[in-house]
């Protein structure tokens, strides 16, 4: 994708970043549960 303005570039890249952030927020607690569920 070609961007002509920094603003367009940021709108696009930050949009993807927000989706990544959402995924991280969901994934991390689950991973923690998986990591620790055999602890006593």
């Amino acid at each position: 994708m070609e961007f002509f303005t920094l603003h367009d570039f940021m709108t696009y890249s930050k949009g993807i970043t927000y989706l990544v952030m959402g995924a991280i927020l969901v994934f991390m607690p689950l991973y923690w549960l998986y990591l620790t569920d055999r602890d006593d």
Binding site: K14, Y18, L25, P29
Partner: protein, 390 residues
């Protein structure tokens, strides 16, 4: 019949209720004006000053003073400082009410409030810091709501669902801290886009860090301050645990606030140094900046330190009020006073009477709601059935 009726009347017409009632009544009239005649009819906002008291105070101060929620819950649940447990519920409740009122106040300020969900659900302007603020405030309000529900469920006797919500405590607390870090700092970062309008002493590349760090001691001070008020008016609602832990909360929070404030003074000076803004300190604006930094951060930090060294809770409570005033001053400086500093005084903004009144109206709603909840739900005391589990 006679005496009972007298009692009922007495309960309705307490001085508190009368004053609150009048404020709410007038507030509603101004509300009608706002939505029938427009923002221009009730505010002094203009094209040079698009943000006024409702953003500077209701949004910026409201959010930073509601920081007690994430500070207290993270101290208790993440850092394991169990001795603050009795302070968590009141802090979460005030935070929830605070954020709810911030969103409520926004409905007055934005032009078309029914479109407030747009940035989140319809057209995401991801390059904007306001988008970040909006998203976080929305999510955090949800988190706070869920965190408040156990008290309501205990009151209503919904044991099963309460149990499930309580199991989420840790995740909610961590979410809360993440979201708070983000929007507290982003509120400061809102002004990064306008370096040409904000006075250099307040404009800094660190603005978002300043807002976040100051929200920490704002939250701590607010918890102490609210505690003071609650002890005065709602003493009878507190259980022994709460009363026994209260002094510990005051001392511990005061000490923490004092230390964070010293750190804040340090990074403020760093901010002047990296932008080489020393020469502004000798101007009138510099004096005002020093009043804020020395008079309303350094001074209460020292008050706090003396109070916590000498175990003088009264001094700490005074320091807390002072700090809260300092936060208000800082937020107003950034958003209103030092903003548009280069405009001639004729073009500067001063809030209208009705703007002030709506702000008071919203605070009053908050106090009434707090009283309503606290006198019914297990906030300042533990519900006897759930004492064991925390």
């Amino acid at each position: 019949m006679g005496p009972e009726k007298a009692i009922a009347e007495k309960q309705y017409f307490t001085p508190f209720n009368v004053v609150a009632g009048i404020i709410i009544f007038v507030g509603l009239i101004i509300t009608i004006l706002r939505f029938t005649k427009g923002i221009g009819a009730v505010t002094n906002l203009d094209n040079n000053n698009p943000w006024g008291l409702w953003i500077g105070f209701d949004l910026l101060c409201g959010v930073s003073l509601a920081a007690g929620g994430y500070m207290t819950s993270s101290a208790c649940y993440i850092f394991g400082l169990k001795k603050y447990h009795s302070a968590v519920r009141p802090a979460i409740l005030t935070a929830f009410l605070g954020y709810a009122l911030v969103v409520f106040a926004l409905n007055y300020d934005v032009g078309r409030p029914w479109k407030l969900p747009y940035p989140i659900f319809y057209s995401q302007g991801t390059s904007s810091l306001l988008f970040e603020v909006g998203l976080c405030v929305f999510l955090y309000l949800t988190v706070l709501f869920v965190e408040t529900t156990p008290a309501a469920f205990e009151w209503l006797g919904f044991k099963r669902i309460r149990h499930w919500v309580v199991r989420l405590t840790l995740v909610l607390t961590i979410f809360g801290v993440v979201l708070s870090t983000l929007h507290q700092s982003s509120l400061g970062a809102l002004f990064l886009i306008a370096p040409s309008k904000l006075h250099p002493l307040w404009y800094s590349g660190y603005l978002h860090v300043y807002f976040f760090i100051s929200s920490m001691f704002a939250g701590l001070s607010m918890v102490i301050f609210e505690g003071t008020l609650a002890h005065k008016w709602l003493h009878h609602k507190m259980d022994d645990t709460h009363l026994a832990e209260a002094n510990g909360v005051v001392l511990g929070f005061g000490k923490a606030a004092s230390f964070i404030m010293m750190g804040y003074v340090g990074i403020k000076i760093i901010g002047i140094a990296v932008d080489n803004n020393w020469h502004y300190l000798t101007t009138g604006w510099g004096l005002w900046f020093l009043v804020e930094l020395i008079g309303f951060v350094l001074f209460p930090a020292i008050l706090y330190s003396v109070g916590s060294r000498e175990k003088n809770t009264k001094l700490i409570r005074i320091a807390a009020i002072w700090t809260v005033l300092g936060i208000v001053l800082n937020r107003l400086n950034v958003s209103l006073i030092a903003f548009n500093w280069h405009l001639p005084s004729a073009d500067r903004y001063f809030p209208s009477f009705m703007e002030f009144f709506i702000t008071i109206f919203i605070i009053t709603i908050g106090v009434v709601a707090y009283r309503f909840v606290v006198t019914r739900m297990p906030i300042l005391y533990e519900h006897p059935e759930y004492k064991k589990d925390h």
